[in-house]
Structure formats: C-alpha cells, structure tokens
C-alpha cells in the first residue's frame, strides 16, 4: 500500500527555534495513526506541514503522493480538523453544510444531513451557540462529508468532556469502518489512542523517537527485571530504552526482535501507554525545554 504521508529530513524553523527537525517517516495507508508527544514536541507543526498550511524549511513531504495543498484536487483528498474545531460562529448549522457543498467538489450532502440529524443538531442554530462537543461533531461532519482519503485531526478531543469524547471517537471509528479513510490524529490521551490507533508515532523535542504498527511495537518491547547488572552486558540486537537500578535490582525496558532467553531476567509484556511514556522519558533526559510554537 502507498504512504499517506511521507517525509524525508523534514524540518521547520521559526527564527532560531526548530519546531520540527530531521523528521523522516513513512505512514502507510489504511491505518488510524496516533501522533503522541509532549506539548511543543512538534505535533501541530508536522500536521500543518502535511496540510500545506506551513512550508518546510528543510526536507520534503508528500501527502497521498502529492505536494500538500498543491491545488484543488489535492485539497479535496485531505480532510483537516484543527485543535479549536474552527467554525463560523455567526453562521447556522445549515449554512455550514451549504458552505461545505459549495467549497468541496466531492461533497456528500446526504451523509452530512444524516449526521446532523443523528447528532440532534438544530440546523437553524448558530455555530457560536453550540456546546464544545456539538461544535467538534459539526466540524467532524464537515471534514467527513467532503469524502477525503486522509483525515488529519489535531487534538480533536482535547477540550471535550468524557461523554462527548467517546461519542466523537465512536463516530470517527464508524467512519473509518465504513469508508476506509486513513486517519492521522495527534493526542495527549494515550488511553484513547490505545483503543483507536493501530499505528503510533512518538514525537519528542521535534524529533521522531519511535514509529510503527502498535502490534509490532508491543511485540518487540519487553520489560526485564532481575538482579542488578550492567545493561551493557545484554546481547547484540537488544536496545535499552530505559533503565532503572536499585542497590539489588535492575529494571530495563528493551527493544528486540528476538526473544530474551537469559533466565536471570523476568520478562513481562507492557502496554502501549508504558511504551510511549518510556520513549518520552528517554528524550526528557537530554531535553532542552521549548516553548509551544503556535502558528
């Protein structure tokens, strides 16, 4: 399958500050991709480069094989929802659907109307009077109804209450099941990602720390604990992601494609959340603090 987003040495600099540096990833189609990392890691910058809202300082990026926002045809293939669920507060729900139909050649008016009805949104309501959950759902409706091949979502559920968040994700997963759209979404909420994503990219301090299918990542990372010893004594091909020691015990999080056979280690599996946090912490050790760069 082709890549939905492919970057090589991609970087974005604001004056002296690199918001994203040396980013090389290839995200295959047909996945729901979670982009995780602390504030200021470069998640929004990467997504803005993918939508063409920003131009790269270094390197190259292709989205669905084309240049981001190269023309109307390219724009029609990508749906994008930014952090603040942007709507026109003075326009009604019905106006938003009309606008969507005018601006998007592949607009599916029936689907948009159906969704608005199912969400119980009064078409006459002004967008500015909707609740946060309703606004997010309306914005998702607009992004879905243009029938994109790739849906890019920047922290779509961050500001929603737990119920609205669940409903949003239910609708998103239904859409993925129905229309085979690829999704790339950034989020802080690893517990949500665990249900939803089958591909994860960990971005810390403007660099990609780890990327891959969730199954594969979980199968190749193990937690080892045993009597205290030097991690350097591990066999080749075992990469130590994090290590902690007490006076008698050593605990290691390692990545290896093979099996850990040394009986001195107690090997346990770990969940996605622990794995992601370990990569974040690893980077944190050598970390220069950045300010969150807003566009």
């Amino acid at each position: 399958m082709t890549a939905v987003i492919e970057t090589a040495g991609l970087g974005k600099r604001y004056r002296t500050l690199w918001a994203l540096a040396d980013c090389t990833v290839s995200i295959p189609a047909g996945h729901v991709v979670g982009l995780v990392g602390p504030n200021g890691a470069g998640k929004t910058t990467l997504l803005d480069l993918a939508t063409g809202m920003l131009a790269p300082t270094t390197g190259a990026i292709t989205v669905l094989g084309g240049r981001p926002a190269a023309g109307p045809a390219q724009l029609a293939r990508v749906g994008y929802l930014s952090q603040d669920a942007p709507l026109y507060t003075g326009l009604s729900v019905a106006d938003h659907l009309k606008l969507g139909a005018r601006l998007n050649p592949g607009w599916n008016a029936d689907q948009a109307r159906d969704r608005v009805r199912r969400l119980d949104l009064d078409p006459r309501r002004k967008a500015g009077t909707l609740s946060g959950g309703q606004r997010a759902q309306l914005a998702l409706t607009l992004a879905i109804a243009k029938r994109p091949e790739l849906l890019i979502l920047d922290e779509p559920v961050a500001s929603l209450d737990p119920l609205a968040r669940r409903e949003f994700l239910q609708d998103l997963m239904e859409t993925v099941g129905e229309h085979q759209v690829s999704v790339v979404m950034s989020s802080h909420l690893i517990s949500d990602l665990e249900r939803i994503c089958d591909y994860v990219i960990v971005l810390v301090d403007s660099r990609v720390r780890v990327a891959g299918p969730v199954d594969e990542l979980l199968a190749t990372h193990h937690l080892l604990s045993g009597p205290r010893r030097d991690p350097a004594s591990l066999p080749d091909g075992v990469e130590v992601i994090s290590a902690s020691h007490t006076d008698v015990q050593t605990t290691l999080l390692v990545r290896t494609s093979g099996r850990v056979l040394d009986p001195a280690w107690m090997v346990s599996e770990l969940g996605l959340e622990d794995l992601v946090l370990a990569y974040m912490k690893q980077a944190g050790a050598s970390r220069n603090r950045h300010l969150e760069v807003q566009k």
Binding site: Q170, M173, G177, E178, R195, D198
Partner: protein, 130 residues
Amino acid sequence: MIEFHLDARSGVAPYMQLIHQVRHGLRLGLLREGDQLPKVKDVAAGLAINPNTVLKAYRELEYEGLVAARPGIGTFVTGTLDGGSLAAHVPLRRDLQRWLGRARRAGLDDESIEALFISTFRSASEEDIA
C-alpha cells in the same frame, strides 16, 4: 446476537478481549452455530475502537475454525466449544450451587471459596497429568 464490552484497565489487548468474549459465548451456549457476530462497523462504532482491531479478532476466530466470514453479509459462527456437553451444564451447575451453599454455611467468604476452588481445580488437573 452478543454484545461486546471492553475493560480498559484489564491490560488485555482489545482484540484478545473480543476473542475471549466470543469463546466464552460459545462455551456457555450464548452463541450457536449459524449465529451472526456483530458487524465490524457496529462494533467499532459501539466501542469506539479501531475497525482493524475487530477484523483482527474475527480473523483469528476464523483461523481457529470457530467462525466464517461471508463477504458482504457478515461473520457467522461455524464451530462450537461446548464439546456437546451443554446438556450436562444444568445438573453440574445445580451441584455447584449446593456446594456453594455448604461452603457459605461453613463460614467461608467469597475469597476463601474462590481460593479453595482454584487450588482444588489445580491439584486435580495436576493429578490428571501425572
């Protein structure tokens, strides 16, 4: 039709939880040959999980010969796990209920009953092996 649920804190991968629930349903006779499993899209929407996760669970069950996918229609149960013993469940359950009553009258609490059952179960299976 069965309805799936997910325990986010169990530490068990979501697709494994779905597989367990189908196997559990087959063992208890909640699912029988010919029954349809919930549609992938509906499970994804209902639980807010990735449709690929549901597909993976269904594929695994298919590999085990327990279900079969009919393209465009759905996934159906084709095997059983009760080993033809479902009829025996009723009297066995009655015996177990009687035994539980005796355990309670003897003053055992829930945890003690569970511990006693599991340790007896284990030693019995070990004797079977030996």
